[in-house]
């Protein structure tokens, strides 16, 4: 029998390909460093940001692409991940948890919020679901802004008074960073020798690993019992219910797992920036992620990876740096070219929807041509 767990077609060429990709991934940051010196454009930090967005988009792709649930407020989970990390590591809270522990807790907390936010939307379909998720996407940053000073009373008794949980719109800073003192001790290095700070090359590798964890999970899930159930719900929720798939559990699993990817990415992002503000998780972030998923190809994990890198880098390097550099020199000195960002994405979306509604890299196309039937009648097969 054919191996159903999809081995690469040829071991050698398969391995060779992976080795080449690995080499590319490893030398990329050093090459980018050189390029940065040459061109004066920020590259590594933009690629880091792009890879964070890829991890986020993978989570959204589970919800939207695999399970078919249109979520317009997905940035809420990004915020929850980042702020959980903030609460756990912001010095004023006196927890200062280790980065390596905190990021998993953030993923878990985001997953729990995925279920909490997902639960009231379970009976909604299509447009209604989109509107409710949109609202949640607005509520979470608003909540973060208002929890900078909150008082909780219960039946006249003050339980918590003027507590500063999120530091309101000033944001949380500084935040915890990965700590390698044990390695410093182990190798007898100077204290602080492995202090990563904002070193973009370190963060590049940290984010590559994070994205790989997310990518691995997404690939495995896509081709699994749960992944099939998601796709069945997407194709026909009622029929799936009749075939023994519980739509409620299946959708909650999509919300939870999608959110956990986002929680993990949010935590790493928060640590890299060292500072987070409610403004980082605005509605536009949800829309940007949705654009990545839709332009790349809903339900296509490799598509979202490639498309996400291209779109987010295009956004961060070309739209944010190269274009202003070209135009603001002499042509349009006063004009804020970056305000055209959404025009670009809008046009891109329209063009794709007209010419390639499945997205740039749709899921592996399944055999659609008809081979000559092997057995003509229902009886035939059994008797032959």
């Amino acid at each position: 029998m054919r191996d159903i767990l999809a081995q690469p077609r040829s071991i050698l060429s398969g391995r060779l390909r992976w080795v080449l990709i690995a080499i590319f991934v490893v030398i990329a940051p050093f090459a980018m460093k050189e390029l940065e010196l040459l061109t004066n454009f920020g590259l590594i930090t933009q690629v880091n940001r792009a890879l964070i967005f890829v991890a986020l988009a993978q989570g959204l792709n589970i919800v939207v692409g695999l399970a078919g649930l249109l979520d317009l407020g997905y940035a809420a989970f990004f915020a929850i991940g980042a702020y959980t990390f903030g609460l756990l590591t912001w010095p004023s809270h006196d927890i200062e948890m280790s980065f390596f522990l905190a990021i998993w807790i953030c993923a878990l907390v985001a997953a729990v919020f995925g279920i909490i936010i997902g639960a009231p939307t379970l009976r909604l379909r299509g447009d209604y679901l989109a509107i409710v998720t949109l609202a949640f996407g607005e509520i979470i940053p608003a909540l973060v802004r208002n929890l900078g000073d909150f008082t909780l009373t219960f039946r006249g008794r003050v339980l918590i008074e003027d507590y500063n949980l999120t530091n309101g719109s000033q944001g949380l800073t500084p935040l915890g960073r990965p700590n390698f003192t044990f390695l410093e001790n182990l190798f007898g290095l100077d204290k602080g020798a492995l202090n990563v700070g904002v070193n973009p090359t370190f963060w590049y590798f940290a984010i590559v690993i994070t994205s790989m964890i997310v990518l691995f999970s997404a690939i495995r899930l896509n081709n699994s019992r749960l992944g099939r159930a998601w796709k069945a719900i997407r194709e026909d929720e009622t029929a799936a219910d009749f075939m023994g798939v519980d739509p409620i559990r299946t959708k909650l699993a999509a919300f939870a797992i999608g959110a956990s990817f986002s929680g993990l990415a949010g935590a790493v992002y928060a640590s890299m920036l060292g500072a987070i503000f409610p403004e980082l998780f605005k509605f536009q972030v949800s829309i940007f992620l949705l654009i990545i998923v839709v332009l790349s190809g809903r339900g296509s994990i490799w598509g979202v990876l490639i498309g996400g890198i291209i779109i987010a880098t295009f956004d961060g390097v070309f739209l944010a740096q190269v274009l202003p550099d070209i135009f603001n020199g002499e042509v349009l000195p006063e004009y804020d070219v970056q305000s055209l960002r959404w025009v670009f994405f809008g046009i891109g979306l329209i063009v794709i929807m007209i010419f390639r509604p499945q997205g740039l890299f749709p899921p592996k196309s399944i055999e659609t041509k008809i081979v000559p039937p092997v057995a003509e009648s229902l009886e035939g097969v059994q008797n032959s």
Partner: protein
């Protein structure tokens, strides 16, 4: 023979329209039962009540001594009720094999972490499920179509795939809503033999909605006629065929009078 399903005084109303009206109905183990009746008689609605899509407005449905009124469809699938649809409802963008695998969903054990890390037990379970799905496709005559998108299959094959998917749930009671609709006489003949085979080889009880009288009269152990949600006749095919109320329901009173002349 024992009774596997019993509907007691089941009604389902949509506002003022009573689609199924205080219906008593029993299904014996290992039997083929047909429900016939004019369009809009309430046949599909009765299916939807039995499979948990609608909660009966009054009355109750008992399956293997267990009151199932109010259970969700997926819960009933787990305890052995499966169905096909009057208008085909496959998972169009999934392959034939994946469609069948969905039918096995409730029998597979892997959870989220099993799905991600794929320990040997999960690998074995998946491999076995894929193989079993292939066998089921073979059983319904779809060998060679395993990796084809459901939407790309010809109509008759889609009907078979729906049956394979339903069989994958390992039902005790299989409900088929007009399985021969849109089929040519040859395909219909195949379907008759196939339904018999299902009962005999898979130890199933079958509940069938069918408009093709030839099919109904050939394979049914029991035929029930519904009209305006009410049972107007029930019995062995030959008895029902002669029943004046049935002729009247189908052809109208005047036709009956003309026939009598």
């Amino acid at each position: 023979m024992s009774v596997i399903l019993e509907a007691k005084g089941v009604s389902k109303a949509f506002g003022r329209l009573v689609a199924v009206d205080t219906l008593d109905y029993t299904i014996e183990d290992n039997s083929i039962n047909s429900i016939i009746g004019p369009n809009g008689a309430g046949k599909t609605t009765f299916f939807n009540v039995v499979t948990g899509y609608y909660k009966p407005t009054t009355g109750k449905v008992v399956f293997n001594q267990r009151n199932i009124s109010g259970s969700r469809p997926n819960q009933l699938t787990r305890i052995g009720i499966a169905r096909t649809f009057q208008t085909i409802r496959l998972f169009n963008n999934l392959t034939a094999r994946e469609n069948v695998l969905i039918g096995m969903h409730h029998r597979l054990k892997s959870g989220v972490f099993g799905d991600i890390f794929r320990p040997p037990a999960v690998r074995r379970e998946e491999a076995k499920a894929h193989e079993e799905a292939g066998q089921l496709l073979d059983y319904v005559g779809l060998k060679g179509y395993e990796e084809h998108a459901a939407k790309s299959l010809p109509y008759g094959h889609q009907r078979r795939l729906e049956i394979a998917r339903a069989l994958a749930t390992q039902p005790q009671l299989l409900l088929l809503d007009e399985p021969t609709a849109g089929m040519n006489p040859n395909e219909t003949q195949d379907m008759i033999l196939f339904i018999r085979k299902l009962r005999d080889e898979r130890n199933l009880s079958i509940l069938l909605i069918e408009h093709d009288m030839k099919v109904v009269m050939t394979i049914s152990d029991k035929v029930t006629v519904l009209d305006y949600g009410k049972k107007i006749s029930e019995g062995q095919p030959a008895e029902v065929q002669k029943d004046e109320r049935v002729i009247e329901a189908y052809l109208g009173r005047r036709a009956l009078e003309m026939l009598k002349k």
